[in-house]
C-alpha cells in the first residue's frame, strides 16, 4: 500500500498540484504565466457556456456509460457463467480488439457507418434505394464509439466480483420464491454493484475526457469537457484557465465518485461471506 501511495504522491499529487496552482495566476500575453494572484480564472469557469458543455458531455458520457454497463454486465455475467477454463479466454478476446490503435478502430467505424459505407452498401444490396441513413457525425455515433471502446473495461470490472459470487445466495433467493429476474435484481445485482460502479467510472471518465471519438465519429460537432481543458492547455495556451477548468472538473467528479462509492459501499455492505470464496 505504501509504495502505491508514494508513487501517487510523487508522480501525481505533487506535479498536478504545481500545475493546478496555476489557476490562481494570470495568463501572460504570449501564453506564458504571469505570476500575479487572481481568481478571475474561476470566474470564467462559471460562464454558462462551460456549464452547458459540461452537462452536455456528461449526458453523452452518461448515456454511453449506461449502455456500456448494461451490455458489459451481461457479457461479464455470461463469461462468469461459462466453464472456468474458458473464462480467461473470453476475457482475453474481449480486450484483444483494443490492442490495435484507437484511431484505426475509429476509422473502421467510419467505414461501417458513413453514408457510402458498408452498412449503406449492405442495405442497397438488399434492395434499399432511399437516402442512405445518416448514422455518422451524430450523437448516436459518438455514443456508439464510446460504448465500443470502453465496453471491455466494463466487462473486466464486472467480471471481477461476478467471478466468485457464492451460488448458494442465488439458490437461497430462488428457494424463497424469487424468480430468476427478482433474484438477479435483489441479490446478484446488489452484490456486484462494486464491479458495476468501477466499470461505470471507467467508461464515464474515459468518455468525458475523450476527443478522438467526438472529433471523428461526431464530426467535431460535440465536445467533451476533457477536450476543453486540452484546448486551453494546448490550443489557446491558456494554462491558468485550463487549470481552473480542470480543478472544477476534478472537484465535481470527485464529489460524484465519492458519493457513489459511499452509496455502493453501503448497498453492498461488506460481503464477507465465507462461501463467496469457498
Amino acid at each position: 500500500m505504501a509504495p502505491a501511495l508514494a508513487w501517487l504522491t510523487a508522480l501525481m499529487m505533487v506535479p498536478c498540484a504545481l500545475v493546478l496552482a496555476l489557476a490562481f495566476f494570470r495568463r501572460g500575453i504570449y501564453g506564458g504565466i504571469e505570476y500575479t494572484f487572481t481568481l478571475e480564472n474561476f470566474g470564467l469557469v462559471l460562464d454558462p457556456l462551460y456549464a452547458g458543455i459540461f452537462l452536455n458531455s456528461a449526458r453523452i458520457a452518461g448515456t454511453a456509460t449506461l449502455i456500456a454497463v448494461v451490455i458489459g454486465y451481461a457479457a461479464a455475467y455470461a463469461i462468469a457463467a461459462a466453464p472456468r477454463r474458458w473464462q480467461p479466454v473470453f476475457l482475453f478476446f474481449a480486450v484483444l480488439p483494443f490492442w490495435s490503435n484507437y484511431l484505426i478502430r475509429t476509422y473502421a467505424w467510419i467505414v461501417l457507418l458513413n453514408r457510402e459505407g458498408l452498412i449503406t452498401q449492405l442495405l442497397r444490396w438488399f434492395g434499399y434505394t432511399g437516402e442512405p441513413p445518416s448514422m455518422l457525425y451524430t450523437e448516436g455515433a459518438v455514443i456508439a464509439g464510446l460504448v465500443y471502446n470502453y465496453l471491455p473495461f466494463v466487462i473486466l470490472a464486472c467480471y471481477a466480483p461476478l467471478s466468485r459470487l457464492n451460488p448458494e445466495l442465488a439458490e437461497a433467493s430462488r428457494d424463497l420464491g424469487a424468480s430468476a429476474m427478482t433474484t438477479f435484481r435483489r441479490v446478484i445485482l446488489p452484490l456486484t454493484v462494486p464491479g458495476i460502479a468501477a466499470g461505470a467510472v471507467f467508461v464515464f471518465v474515459l468518455s468525458i475526457g475523450n476527443f478522438v471519438t467526438p472529433a471523428l465519429l461526431g464530426g467535431g460537432r460535440f465536445q467533451m469537457i476533457g477536450n476543453l481543458v486540452y484546448d486551453q492547455f494546448l490550443t489557446a495556451n491558456d494554462w491558468p484557465f485550463g487549470a481552473a477548468l480542470a480543478m472544477a472538473l476534478i472537484a465535481i467528479m470527485l464529489l460524484v465518485l465519492m458519493a457513489q462509492a459511499l452509496a455502493a459501499d453501503r448497498a453492498a455492505g461488506r460481503i464477507a461471506e465465507a462461501k463467496a470464496d469457498g
Binding site: R27, I29, D47, G220, F222, D231, A236
Partner: protein, 324 residues
C-alpha cells in the same frame, strides 16, 4: 549527440536524414509530433530540452519566440537562405527570418468534387451557406484559427481580427453554417471527398492534393474573398546542444534539390525559388495549385498570434462547437 528533429510524420522526403548524413557526416533522427499544439505544449513545459530543430506552423513559431524558447537563426550558417523567395524572407510573423525558416507554405481554400458539384465554388459563402445539393455534404477544418478564418474571410475581416463585435458576427455566421455541415474535420476530409461522402471541404492546398492524387476529379480553388497564407517553419531550440548541426540541417533542407525533392514527396509548395523552378512539369500539371504565383500567394494575410484575444478566440470556438 545526434541531431533530434521533430516533425509531422511523412512531412519530409523519406530519405532526407540518410541524405543529410551522407552530405554532412552528421547523423540525426526524426521524431514525430501529431499537432502544432502538442509539440508546443511539450516545448513550453520542458523548455525544449532534447530537441534541436522543430517543425511548427508560423503562429506557433511566433509564440515560441516570444516565450524565448527558440534560437536566433545564424544566417551565416544557413547560406541556402538565399534560395528563399524574397517574399519568404519578409513574412509578417518573422521579417528577415530572425528565428524561423519557412519550409512549406500555401493557402486554405475549397477542395471539391468537380464531377459532383454543379457550379464551381467561388466564395466562402458557397461553403458556409451551401446550395441544397451540398447541404450535409461539406466539412470545415476543426482547428480553431482556420475554422474562424473561413468566417473572417467571408465577412471580409482580417484573419487576425480582435474586435469583439466583429468576432461575434463571425461566430454567428459559423454557428449558422454548422447546421449544413457534415462534420468538422481536419484529418480525413480528403478521403471523404474520395468516397463521395462529402462534396466540398475546407482544405489546406497540399492536403487537397492527397485527394487529387486518388481522384483527379477533385479540384482545389481559392474563394474570391481570399485565403490565409499559412507557413510551416523550422526553428532551432535555444536548449539545443547542437546548434551548428541544427543550422546545417536547415541549410541542407533549403538546398534547392533537397527542397524540391521534399515538395515532390509531400505535395506542398515550398518557398524555395530554385526548387520550385526545378519541379517537373507533370507534377505541376497534376497539382495545379503548386504553380500558384508567389506574388499572388503573399497577398494573403498570415495567421498571427493574437495575444490576449486568444481567450476570445477559444471561447468562440467552444461556443460554435457547443451550439446545437
Amino acid at each position: 549527440a545526434d541531431l533530434v528533429i521533430s516533425n509531422w510524420d511523412g512531412y519530409m522526403a523519406p530519405d532526407a536524414m540518410a541524405a543529410f548524413k551522407a552530405a554532412t557526416g552528421v547523423s540525426g533522427e526524426v521524431v514525430v509530433h501529431a499537432t502544432n499544439e502538442e509539440i508546443m505544449g511539450k516545448l513550453v513545459a520542458s523548455g525544449g530540452k532534447g530537441y534541436d530543430v522543430v517543425f511548427v506552423s508560423s503562429p506557433f513559431a511566433e509564440v515560441l519566440n516570444k516565450l524565448g524558447l527558440i534560437e536566433t537563426i545564424d544566417h551565416a550558417k544557413v547560406p541556402n537562405l538565399a534560395n528563399l523567395y524574397p517574399e519568404a524572407a519578409n513574412l509578417s510573423h518573422d521579417v528577415g527570418n530572425k528565428f524561423s525558416v519557412p519550409y512549406t507554405w500555401g493557402t486554405t481554400g475549397l477542395c471539391y468534387r468537380s464531377d459532383l458539384v454543379k457550379t464551381e465554388p467561388a466564395s466562402w459563402n458557397d461553403l458556409l451557406a451551401p446550395s441544397d445539393a451540398l447541404k450535409g455534404k461539406t466539412t470545415m477544418l476543426a482547428t480553431d484559427r482556420w475554422l474562424l478564418a473561413a468566417g473572417q474571410l467571408a465577412k471580409g475581416y482580417s484573419v487576425n481580427e480582435t474586435d469583439p463585435a466583429k468576432l461575434a458576427e463571425v461566430k454567428d455566421l459559423l454557428i449558422s453554417a454548422k447546421k449544413t455541415l457534415l462534420a468538422y474535420d481536419d484529418t480525413t476530409f480528403y478521403s471523404k471527398l474520395v468516397s463521395g461522402e462529402a462534396l466540398m471541404v475546407q482544405a489546406w492546398d497540399g492536403w487537397c492534393n492527397y485527394g487529387i492524387a486518388e481522384n483527379p476529379q477533385i479540384k482545389y480553388t481559392i474563394p474570391k474573398e481570399g485565403s490565409d497564407l499559412w507557413v510551416d517553419t523550422m526553428v532551432v531550440m535555444k536548449a539545443s546542444a547542437n546548434k551548428d548541426a541544427a543550422f546545417q540541417f536547415i541549410n541542407f533542407m533549403l538546398d534547392a534539390k533537397n527542397h524540391a525533392w521534399a515538395a515532390q514527396n509531400i505535395d506542398y509548395k515550398v518557398p524555395n525559388k530554385p526548387a520550385m523552378e526545378s519541379l517537373p512539369a507533370d507534377f505541376l500539371a497534376k497539382f495545379p495549385n503548386m504553380a500558384m504565383p508567389v506574388a499572388e500567394l503573399v497577398k494573403f494575410e498570415q495567421l498571427r498570434d493574437v495575444g490576449d484575444a486568444q481567450r476570445d478566440y477559444s471561447k468562440i470556438v467552444s461556443e460554435i462547437k457547443a451550439a446545437q
